[in-house]
Structures are given as C-alpha cells and as structure tokens.
Symmetry: D2
Subunit: 274 residues, 4 copies
C-alpha cells in the first residue's frame, strides 16, 4: 500500500525550492536541469526512497500530503499559505465532522485543506461565480482525493435569495468585498459559528470589522502571520535571507445571537479593561 504504482502522485523532492508533484505514467519521463527520471524506475519503489538522475543528483520520492497538493495547485489565483491555512483551522477549532461553507472557491486550495480536516463525516460546500476557476478547482479537488467531501456550486451568495446550506460551523470568505455576503453568511452559520475572511489589504479589514459589528458578530479578531524560515546548521544558525513579506491578513469572528436588542457599535476595548 505504500508503494508507488502507475497512476500514483509522487512528490519529486530535491530541496526546499526544487520539488515537483508528478503523476506517474508508464514510459513517462521527468526532465529538469537536475537530469532525467524515468517514471518506470519509480514504480514499485517505497515512498521515501531516493533515485539518482542521469546527472547524478538524488531525488526523493515522497508521498504527497494535502500540503503538497495545496502548494502545487495554485496557479490561477492568489496563493493561500500553510501559515494562514493552519491558523484558520486552529483558531476556529475546525475539526472532524464539521460543516464548512466557502464563499469564493478560487483554486480550491482552502477547499481541499478544509475538506481534509472535516472528512469523512463532515463536508465543505464551496461557491464561486467564475466558471474558469471552478473548472480548475474541480480538477484540483479531484486530484487531492477529497472530492467526496466537497460540493462545488456556481452561486453568487451576495445576492442569492436562496440559502443553500445552513448549520455551518465555519464560513471561509475569499472575496474582494467580504462584507457584502455577511447577511447571507449569518443565515448559513449555526449559533456561535465561526467566520474567517482572507483579506489582502488593511482597508478590507477595516470595512469588514465595521460590518461584522453591524451584523451581530462577536470575538472579532484581525491578525497577520509572519513565517520566518530558519537555517539551522551547526555553528551558523540564522534566519533565512529570503522571505515573503506579505500574503494576506486574516479576519475571524463568531456569530452572536442578540435577540431583540441592537449590538453596540464597537467591542469593549481589551486594553482599557486590563
């Protein structure tokens, strides 16, 4: 079960910047400047083995994880990074069996990641309006092996009068104007359900936060996540020279249930109450 066969996905790994997700096909060849690998040479090998290219470079044959799928499939849209994906899951308490709605499927990266956590008992319902994106996303979701746990639909949640899913534990919003879907997202979430929006700009955080308060959300939190790679080597450990300066800001909130009273316009200030 842990052996590579024709039709397997394999991560050819040379180093952290030279790695490729490859579908093995009989007689297939893989060409890079590191040399050539004949697909047939990988068949029957255990995952974790290494092969020598014709240029005498070792390449490891790793079993692709959800992370490898998520990182390799993102071409047509803004990338969502593991540091951000992981925080979305950990902060919202995403777990096996939950129901997730996603507004803005994009490349399907967030979809796949969320599905991999809630499966097999949970489900991700993802919505987009761009058919090109959806075609790509479908292919990506299939390849990652999570299509049983994902329903992908074309629907403009912003203006939809129909609420296609209710009782969701988490809503993930990846739109340029995430505040426009808040009224409908409220209806999709269960009581206390969580929301995460992926926001490239500070202005989006600001508008979204204002609208979240108006739409009766609480526990509102905006964060930014900086991943710093470290080169740990004997006697010369230091941070890496290369780094990514910015990916996206994240905004989290939970649906509150106020009853008849109207919410206050701002949350009590954490600093002042300390």
């Amino acid at each position: 079960m842990d052996k590579i066969s024709a039709d397997s996905d394999v991560l050819f790994y040379y180093n952290s910047t030279k790695k490729w997700l490859v579908k093995i096909t009989p007689k297939g060849q893989f060409h890079t400047h590191l040399g050539v690998i004949m697909h047939d040479d990988t068949i029957g090998k255990k995952y974790g083995s290494r092969l020598l290219t014709n240029k005498e470079k070792y390449v490891y044959l790793l079993k692709p994880t959800i992370h490898d799928h998520v990182m390799k499939l993102q071409h047509s849209t803004q990338i969502v990074y593991p540091k951000d994906l992981g925080y979305i899951a950990a902060r919202s308490g995403l777990c096996g069996g939950q129901t997730v709605v996603e507004i803005g499927t994009g490349s399907g990266a967030l979809t796949i990641f969320a599905a991999s956590i809630v499966m097999p008992a949970g489900h991700v319902h993802t919505f987009d309006v761009d058919e090109e994106f959806m075609k790509t996303a479908k292919k990506n979701i299939d390849r990652a092996g999570v299509s049983d746990y994902v329903t992908l639909k074309k629907l403009d949640i912003k203006s939809s009068k129909r609420i296609p899913v209710t009782g969701a534990d988490l809503a993930i919003i990846d739109l340029g104007d995430p505040w426009t879907v808040l009224p409908n997202v409220r209806k999709m979430l269960n009581d206390g359900g969580a929301l995460f929006a992926v926001c490239p700009t500070m202005n989006q955080l600001e508008t979204l936060t204002t609208e979240l308060i108006q739409n009766e959300f609480t526990d509102i939190e905006s964060t930014e996540h900086i991943l710093r790679p470290i080169n740990a080597r004997e006697g010369k450990t230091r941070h890496a020279f290369r780094a990514i300066g910015h990916t996206a800001y994240l905004c989290y909130a939970r649906k509150a249930h106020f009853g008849r009273a109207r919410p206050k316009t701002v949350e009590p200030d954490a600093k002042k109450t300390l």
Copy 2:
C-alpha cells in the same frame, strides 16, 4: 442541540482578554469584576446569546471550540499557540483518518488539537513519563470530548525497546531533547511520514537538524511564526501595541528510506541551486 443545559461547557466572552471557559452547574455562580452571572440564567439559552451581568456588562455565551479548550487548559506546562498548532497541521498535511504519535503529552493541548482533526477514523497515541502531567492531560482530553480518539500511555520512548505504534503519519515531539527519540520515532512512522518538534531554543533546532540528517530524514525545515494582532477600526487601523515576542520554533522533516546507501551530511542548498 444548540441550547445550553446544566453540565454544558460555555465560553463566557466579554472581550479578547476577558473570556472564561465555564462548566454550567445548577445554582452555580460566576463572579468577576464585570459582575455576577447566575448559571441558571444561561440554561436553555442558545449559544451565541448574551447576558447582562449585575454590573450592566454584556457577556456572550459561546459554544467552546477546540481552540477555546486548548487555550484555557494550559496551566502546568509551556503553552502551544494556535499559530504553531495550525502550522503543524497545515505543513504536515494532517487530515481525517491519520495516525499520530506524540512524544511528550504535556497538558494535552497538542493531543486534543491533533485528535480533533484525525477523528473519528484516526487516532492519537500520546506518551509521557510524568504522572502528574498525565493526570492533568487526561482530564483536559476528557473535557474537550476527544478521549475516544486518544490513547495516553506512560512510556519513555527514548529508551523503550518496544515500539508501541507503527505506521504513524505524523510524530509530534515536545521534549527538551527531541533528538534522543529519533531512532524510535523512525520505527513508528510510515514511509514518508512526517515529524514536528516544538523547540523553545535555537540550539535545539541546531542539534535536532544535525541528528535528523544522520537519522535519514529529508525535507527538513525550521521555522518561526509571528502572529501580529491588528486593531482594525474605522480611520485608525494599526497593529496592536501588545504582542507575544516568542513562543517556540518548529522543526519539520519527513522520513526518507535510503536503502543501503548512506545519506549525505547536508541537504542540497536551496539558495545555491536557484
């Protein structure tokens, strides 16, 4: 099902620094400087509702997530933060159905988080040697509702001749000297299985990295994660003044299967091959 009853766990939420995880008991009272809440007043309320204390402060009654459990239960040991937890899951591709081994249970925070993702088909096997910690961890795991997916055992993996679990997809190590368990962790992991170590110091990263290479791991990566809270408010958006400077460094690697040839002593340098 979404209503609060006697015996429910409820997150009393006032603001980001004033929140408490409370077990509801008939006739129970909750006292803070924000005023008093009678437990009986919460019973029958929907999650997400709010209550007024006798000091006229609104407190929300939120359904605790795995995140709330993880953040509230960590008293006796070093805290593991959502930013780090999330990256561990996202980078290793942790998903529903997987098998996890954890060396060093601590307060059970990582245990609970991992169990919440792999459940119901997967399982977490966690090992510690400190009976006091284990008692606390057991209580925490029970309260978080994931005890069916966790096996907690007293065992010193470092010196154990018996390998209690094999075929693990992920090994999480939270020890001061994580390199000492590498030979046995290799035996627990399946081919290509992943490892994450939580390291408070740079020196640990350095020693661990050297030993990972010696123990035939690949795709080795050390990272640091900085979470920056943002105060998003109309016309005055800025990062928060308060922040945490350091939690832990993370070291990730995957088990390789070299066969008879010995591994090289360092990974090919990403920078040089660019």
Copy 3:
C-alpha cells in the same frame, strides 16, 4: 572628567528593565526595592563603576547617553523608540552640520536625538502649539545638554503665513494630520530635502502618501520596524518572550522640483518594472 560629581546625571543600571536616570545631589538618597543608594557614595566614582545597595544588589553607575535621556524623558506623549529614531537618521542621511525642522515637539525626544547628530554646526528648529508640552520639552532638552543646538518656538506651521526657517535638510513631522503642513514644509526644505512623518495608524500613511504625491515629493517610502530582543545564553538562545507589538509607522519622502509640469498621480510601480 569621567568621574561622577554632585549635579551629575547617572544611569543607575541593574538590568534591562530596572534602570533609572538620576541627578546626583549631596545627601540625596535613591530608594527602590533593590535597596537604598546614598548619592554621596557615587560622588568621585568613575562612570562604569558598581555599587552595592543595602540589600546586597549591584547597581552600575553608567554615564547617560542620548539614548538614556530619550528613553527616560518621555512621559506626557507617545514614545518614539530607538529603532524608529535610528531609521529616521539613517534613511534620511542625517549628519553633522545639517538643519532640521520638527513640526510637533512633543516631549522633545526626537528633538534631542536630531540635535545630538547635527551638533555643533547644525541646528534643530522645533515647533509646537501646546505650551504644556513645550515647557516639558524645554526641560528635557536642557537636561540632555543640547539646548545650544535647538530653537523651540510656539507656532502653528499648518496655518502660518510666515516661513520661519528655509534651507532645511530634513523635516520631521509628528502630528496626527501630517498632510496639513506639507505646503509649508515644502517651503522650509531645500531642493531634494527629506521628510519623515511618525504615523501611529495605517490610515495616516495612506492619506499622507496621497498628499505627498500631490505636493511634489518623490522617493516616497512607508515602513514599519520590528525590534526583536534575543536572549543569547549558552545552550539556550532564543527570542525574548516579551515584545512590543507596535510603536509607529514611518513615512519618508524627498522634495522634488518639477518645474511647470504637474506630477503624475502615482509613483512608477517598483514591482512592475522589475
């Protein structure tokens, strides 16, 4: 010349969070929870010496630097930090002999720092409208020993028809609405002169940048500076747990001289031209 005398300023240094700037007076006493130091015991001692308190704690007697003055005097206003002060000097190329104008004296911290660099041939002209601040600032500037190189005036630069200084090499703006003074600041700067604004919020950066382009500035740059303290100790080196999350954003620009043609509305995009 390096000995402590009555009337000397001395930094009593215990550790990085326990240090005090003290003016020595005959028969004076200094009380902390570390014990008591009699001022007379310090007189005649060399700077860099240490004294034992009556509680057997060593306290070093350090000669205060401009840094010590700047850090200890800031009570009434927002603090400006060495990391930000230093970048202002280094990025603008501030050097001995230059003329600086400062709009918003505040506590005088930036004033003192700038004066310490341009002195003795250069000068800092600083303007404020709040007489309380100015009184405090004057005291601080005197104590730091740079009053010969500073002229402190009450003047509202925003609405002033008189331009009190011309030919400045650097304008430092520490106001809530820095864009309001740009037309007059242009007249104070020499051709190519630099400007730095200290901005607590992202919104200020945004408005200021738009107005800088309208007011014919170029080389516009907004930055944020994160200082991370490191605990370097044998075998357990790591970042410090405590840190400051945010101080201020900085905006830099240089005055351009366009002649009759109007400026473009945005700077050419660095990313696109790469």
Copy 4:
C-alpha cells in the same frame, strides 16, 4: 549652490528599485532600459529636478545623501542596512564630537555612516587587515566626502600589543569572531563606552555574550530588526509582498569598571525581577 555641475554625484531616481548613483562628466551618457540620459542635460539643473529620457520616462536628479552612498557602495562585502545602522547610532547614543573605533572596515559603509554623525569635531578610527577591502573602502569614504573624519589603518586588533586609540565612545565590531578583540577593545573604550557587534548568526551572539560578561561589560543586549515595507495606496494599503528575511543580529554592551571584584557570570534576569 544646489545646482548640479560637472563632477557632481547625482542619484538618478526612477523608483525604489531603479536608482543609480552617477558621477556627472561632460559628454557622459547614462544608459538603462529606461532610456538614455546625457550628463550635459543635468548640468545646471537644481537638485530635485526631473529629466525625460529618450524613452519618455521621468528620472529625478536627487542630491545623494549619506544613505545613498552607503547603499550604493557595498559590493565586495556583506551589506549593512539602514535599519541596523540607525539602531547602532540610536541605541549607543552616538553623537556629534564622539570618537569611534571600528574593527573590520569592510566596504566602509559603517565607517561613512559613523563619520557623518560624529563630524566635524569627532573622528572614526577604522582598522582592517585585508588590503583589497581597504583600497575599496578608501575610495568609498573619499567619494562620500567624509575622509577628513576617518583614519583607516591596517592593523590586526586581535593580536596587537599596541593600543592605537583610547577614550573611544563607541566600538563597532564587524568580524566573524568578535569576541577575540574584546580585551583590546576594552582598552580603547572610555569608562562606560559602548560596543556594537554585527553578527550574522545566533551562535556568534551566544559566544559573544558569554565573553562580554567575562570581559566586564554590562547592559548587554542582543536584538534583531525587521523592516517591513508598506505599500500605502488609497483603498488598498498593505505590506509589500517582497521583503528581506535576515540581515544581521546586533549585540550591544557597555564597558563596566568593576574594580577588584570579579563580575557575576550572568546578568540579573529581567524577567525574574519584574
């Protein structure tokens, strides 16, 4: 006086990543992919003016600051960045009239920066052992216009029995093994004088800190500085995608004068005394 003439240094500025420090020569030409600029067209222009290239691109003619010199001259050695330079000055309280010793001249960047602050009454004494570096540094120092305030000597401070300078206010060390020069640096510093070492690795910080304590320094502080560029644009303000991950760590300390008693082996712990 602010007009460009033959022999002037001019910063040709297009945007933040396209800028060049050019020495104007009669009949000279400047070629880039932005087009051609005839040097003669710049002569007589005011600094801050702009010129149109033959490809219709505007280029500003800025008067180079010390910052521009420092950033453009660093070719042969590790770059020192404004964020780090500035902190060295601000934290040590470097000011007009002070004496600086520099061990390791490198490209002269730190030399020029320090000289620009202490001038005209102060002086920088800089020492290196590599004649190639020294030749380049001399050229750079001359071009930046600070050679009157710099003495550049070939001397191995580590093993020198002669102490060439005493009474220094600041010692800047840019060596791979900064701890080796501590005994001699102590002799060069005045009482309470400051030291800054530029350290690419964590291991250097660790060894240096241990040796600083042994060599009777106090107020020891290791820091790391992250500069985050911000793209401030109307309605879409965010951090820049591109960033530098690591430059160098900085270690600061002040010379203490213990007299006969031996120093303790570690500084009192700031955290514990809080």
